[in-house]
């Protein structure tokens, strides 16, 4: 599962698979215990690369490769600044160029190439587009809130449904118990013979069953499709563009055999060829062999290439 151990205590990771690895900004991993150990002593340097660190910079590792985690962190930070959306750009090409810029920055920061320059570039961009950044941040948060609301609604709906089903089951159980109790009471009190009472009870139980079945089958009327479109709503789609092409014409396959025509497999019997071939024994026919197959093959071979080629 995890083939890397913690670089400091090495053994603990294998012995304790539930131990989590933490990753910091320089991209190196440390298990939780070692992180504690490191900051207890007050020294805040990474074991492998000696960069000064803060305890808050450690995050639980989500990916097997710590460099991936490092990149994810950097990307988050960069995207906080570079948060333009596709409708901010007049053409697709410019949007793609912008995205490429962002990727370059992330790559440089992850692989420690040209860090100074990149940071300068970032600051410059930040200064230039300050209000745009703010606006986009606002829209982003609004969208996220809407999504969260939807999720919440869905969850609530699920909960409600679950409760309803439970209640139904309870009611059905109760009805059954009441029925049984009624039978016992009647057996005690009524004057009718026991067999008639039992028959009546059976009838009532059957009725109850059918009722329950019917209830299960009634679908709750709803007015929303699962994609969120209202049922009565007419959705107008864009007209599908018509593509005019040449129609395909089937032409049967023509094979040049350079010889006289061979009769079809099915005609061989009728034409009398099969009289001159060894008949198929019962063991052969079991596998699907017929004497026509051998005959056809022999005649095909006899006629193939018989005539000299033209010219």
């Amino acid at each position: 599962m995890d083939d890397q151990g913690c670089p400091r205590c090495k053994t603990t990771k294998y012995r304790n698979p539930s131990l989590k690895l933490m990753v910091n900004v320089c991209g190196h991993t440390l298990c939780e215990n070692c992180v504690e150990m490191l900051f207890v002593r007050g020294s805040g340097n990474c074991v492998q690369c000696d960069t000064p660190l803060r305890k808050s910079n450690f995050r639980v590792q989500l990916f097997e490769d710590p460099t991936v985690d490092k990149e994810v962190e950097i990307r988050k930070k960069v995207l906080k600044i570079y948060n333009k959306r596709d409708f901010d750009f007049p053409s697709l090409r410019e949007y793609n160029d912008y995205l490429e810029q962002v990727e370059d920055i992330v790559y440089n920061l992850t692989n420690n190439i040209d860090v100074e320059n990149t940071k300068l570039r970032m600051e410059q961009y930040q200064r230039e587009n300050r209000d745009l950044i703010q606006r986009n941040k606002a829209t982003l948060t609004r969208e996220q809130e809407e999504l969260e609301e939807l999720l919440l609604l869905e969850q609530q709906g699920n909960e409600q449904r679950r409760l309803e089903v439970l209640q139904e089951e309870q009611r059905q159980l109760q009805a059954k118990r009441k029925n049984k109790q009624a039978l016992l009471d009647e057996l005690e009190q009524s004057q009718l013979p026991a067999t008639i009472l039992l028959a009546q009870h059976k009838v009532r139980a059957a009725q109850l069953e059918t009722q329950i079945e019917q209830q299960k089958q009634t679908v709750k009327p709803t007015n929303l499709f699962s994609t969120g479109i209202h049922m009565r709503q007419t959705v107008s789609l864009m007209a599908v563009p018509k593509v005019e092409e040449v129609l395909y014409h089937y032409k049967p396959l023509q094979v040049k055999t350079y010889g006289p025509p061979v009769p079809e497999l099915e005609q061989l019997g009728r034409l009398g060829y099969l009289n001159h071939v060894r008949a198929a024994m019962p063991q052969d026919t079991a596998g699907g062999y017929t004497s026509a197959l051998a005959c056809h093959r022999a005649v095909q071979d006899a006629f193939s290439g018989l005539f000299p080629p033209k010219g």
């Binding site: 010889g259 009398g272 005649v299 006899a302 006629f303």
Partner: protein, 319 residues
């Protein structure tokens, strides 16, 4: 089927001159190779001429046919035909002086068994070499396995060979069904079979489609028996209007018969003389270093120091 096979596309030639030309080229190529390598003590007279190569080729072809006929379990005719065709195609592009025929012929037979799905294990195959001890048979088997890939390469990986045996069966069936003029086509079978075996020993397989060879065999045996089959060609095969095609077909048949007539059995004195020279050439110029690693039996004696002395197994060990 033959009409879209590699045999028709790549291994059917129009004239005997073409074939002769290819064989001369192979001969020349070997000579140049040896002359360029600059080995001392060679002279032009050591090399075999074209007609001498031819004699040896026919001799080894006969040996191949005898080996296949004596094979246990009985080898079907198509396997024999395929083996002979491989042998012929191989020596179209390679010289006898470069690869010794006795190994190539066994490799051809071995490959042909595999390709034609005639299931024989390798030990069973070499078990048919009756003159050798089991150890000797092992050695032969190793050699066969070495040369197998070379053979396949020189055949340009075209391994499917269409033999004239099934077309002959087909023509006999057709005759019985559509040609009542001839009352007993079965009587033609034996003579046609002999014709086909003889034709396998000639270049007919490299120049004519197998169905034409089969038709020639049947027409030949009919004319031998004094029966006329002209109307079969015109009526049943629909060639009444197409005089050109008819004449072309007669022409090819005539050429095929000439080929068969030209064939002559190799004479033993000539064969022995050329064989000696061939052995010498192989001993001197053999490029395969594997032969030097093992010793071979010669006339039943096991060499005392097999690794140092290079003794080759001879033809007598085969039969």
């Amino acid at each position: 089927m033959f009409h879209n096979s590699s045999q028709r596309k790549y291994w059917i030639f129009k004239k005997e001159d073409e074939l002769e030309h290819m064989r001369c080229k192979a001969n020349q190529k070997f000579r140049n190779k040896i002359l360029e390598s600059g080995k001392p003590g060679l002279s032009e007279s050591m090399f075999l001429e074209r007609h001498e190569e031819d004699v040896l080729f026919r001799h080894y072809e006969r040996r191949l046919l005898d080996f296949c006929n004596a094979f246990k379990p009985a080898m079907p005719k198509s396997v024999v035909g395929t083996a002979i065709m491989y042998f012929r195609r191989f020596y179209l592009n390679n010289s006898i002086m470069e690869y010794h025929p006795r190994i190539i012929m066994l490799t051809c037979a071995y490959l042909s068994c595999k390709v034609d799905e005639f299931n024989v294990s390798s030990t069973q195959f070499v078990g048919n070499l009756l003159q050798e001890t089991p150890a000797g048979q092992e050695r032969v088997l190793e050699q066969i396995l070495e040369y197998e890939l070379l053979l396949i390469q020189q055949l340009n990986f075209h391994l499917v060979v269409h033999n004239p045996y099934r077309p002959m069966e087909g023509l006999l069936i057709d005759l019985k069904t559509r040609y009542p003029t001839l009352d007993n086509p079965e009587s033609l079978r034996k003579s046609a079979d002999d014709f086909l075996t003889q034709a396998a020993m000639t270049d007919a397989g490299l120049m004519f489609p197998p169905s034409q060879i089969a038709l020639t065999a049947i027409l030949n045996s009919a004319s031998r028996a004094g029966l006329s089959m002209e109307t079969y060609l015109t009526e049943c095969l629909g060639l009444r209007e197409d005089k050109e095609a008819l004449s072309k077909m007669y022409d090819s048949m005539r050429r095929m018969k000439t080929l068969l007539k030209k064939y002559e059995l190799p004479k033993p004195e000539e064969v022995n003389a050329y064989k000696q020279r061939l052995e010498r050439i192989h001993v001197e110029f053999s490029t395969s270093s594997n032969k030097r690693k093992r010793g071979y039996e010669e006339d039943g004696h096991v060499a005392k120091e097999p690794r140092l002395v290079e003794e080759e197994w001879t033809d007598e060990d085969l039969m």
